[in-house]
Symmetry: C2
Subunit: 254 residues, 2 copies
């Protein structure tokens, strides 16, 4: 039976109790609107750990665009059922004033890589992401936390942050889950018009197609995307594009 935890104090007490009894804890932070990508993280966490906590919190501090924040899909009842079916034991859904009782006075900043790629296109985005993740990691005190490969830069920054601060939680990356036509699953895909939804899989197809980065940018523009960036990063090619008001990101092994 899945349990809902609404407050940070309750979450800390419950998790401390689990740790005392020797249970390992897997943690999957989400903003809700759970799709099969999230469920794959929960399933993996369930295989690796005794107990699984899924947080649902739409984090305002990582949004520079109020419209994007307001339109982010919310669906708690469906999310709870899906998370439970995938193996979650707890849903943690804190209120903003509880999680940010300091009113975001204290924050994590990263002075290099967070300013590139996504960070260059979304002012303050990674400060908000890193700050909320560190709060949540401390509250849950998990052994392992699971992040999708889709947000490749985010995953890398979160992992580096936990190492820089010598945090106990291990960051585990999990493969991108795609629709049958190749589109990476994302809560934002529901906002695509029918025409844009039909075009969206071209992002993955073109990134996977090989050849020079510059040619990929050109092909994406030809298909109708506004290209924010396409870059090589580690062993990946990462890209971000816009279709109307919807922003899509993806990456593939290069």
């Amino acid at each position: 039976m899945i349990e809902i935890i609404d407050t940070t104090s309750d979450a800390r007490a419950r998790m401390a109790n689990l740790r005392c009894r020797g249970h390992t804890i897997g943690f999957v932070p989400t903003m809700g609107a759970l799709h099969d990508g999230h469920l794959s993280l929960i399933e993996r966490a369930d295989r690796d750990n005794d107990r699984v906590v899924v947080s649902i919190f739409v984090n305002p501090t990582q949004y520079d665009d109020p419209e994007d924040l307001d339109s982010y899909p919310r669906s708690l009842a469906a999310d709870t059922n899906r998370a439970a079916a995938a193996g979650a034991d707890f849903i943690f859904q804190p209120a903003f004033n509880d999680l940010y009782h300091d009113d975001y006075r204290f924050r994590i900043t990263e002075t290099g890589f967070s300013r590139e790629l996504e960070g260059a296109h979304r002012q303050g985005h990674f400060d908000g992401v890193l700050t909320v993740v560190l709060k949540l990691l401390n509250i849950v005190g998990a052994d392992r936390a699971y992040f999708g490969d889709k947000d490749w830069q985010q995953q890398k920054l979160v992992r580096d942050m936990t190492k820089a601060f010598f945090h106990r939680t291990e960051i585990i990356g999990c493969p991108i889950v795609r629709e049958t036509d190749g589109l990476a699953m994302s809560s934002r895909n529901v906002h695509l018009t029918a025409a844009d939804r039909a075009r969206a899989p071209e992002l993955h197809r073109i990134l996977s197609g090989g050849g020079p980065i510059e040619a990929m940018r050109r092909q994406l523009a030809e298909v109708g995307f506004t290209v924010d960036y396409v870059e090589r990063l580690d062993d990946r090619i990462v890209g971000a594009v816009r279709l109307g008001k919807v922003r899509l990101i993806d990456n593939v092994e290069s």
Copy 2:
């Protein structure tokens, strides 16, 4: 028998082992040059906890003045003996490249109170303080950490930070230890010339004298201090002055 720990990985392993065996851990972060003020923190930590860790690390990221950093007194052998006599079980003295393997890419910033008082006079000071403290708190995983009341603003910011990030360590404040003439103990006092050392206790005497803040500022200037600030903060009057190249801070209940 006191033990010296030189690396972050060794410290984490040793402390995790202590916690597993049910020992409580008290932590006293220092920059070395231990005086009776530090020793009072160690003694208090020894009364409250099963094991006591003292870190010695002169933290470059909190210095905007390279000369202040270079001249900070260093005395490891004497420090170790004093800490042991006061009840410390471990000295933790990490190297910069170990503690800052991220090269200070990741940092804690505070957007309000840290910019006032000390923060207004020492650029980036509290970013460096908060960042190193969070690293050390995570490495040691103490139940309680001890900070002197002398650095009143620092103690308040560190406590607020641990609450903002839901950190497990409780921050304990301890009273200022003074020389018999009233001068607050500080590692920097050794740099005072004989004449300035004779004048230095006037800071405490004037802050304790009551009356309006503006009158205190005037009296301090008359005695020969360069006044950085005197302000009311919580139930305290806090002040910072300079005598030649030496900066003194102090505070008293108001």
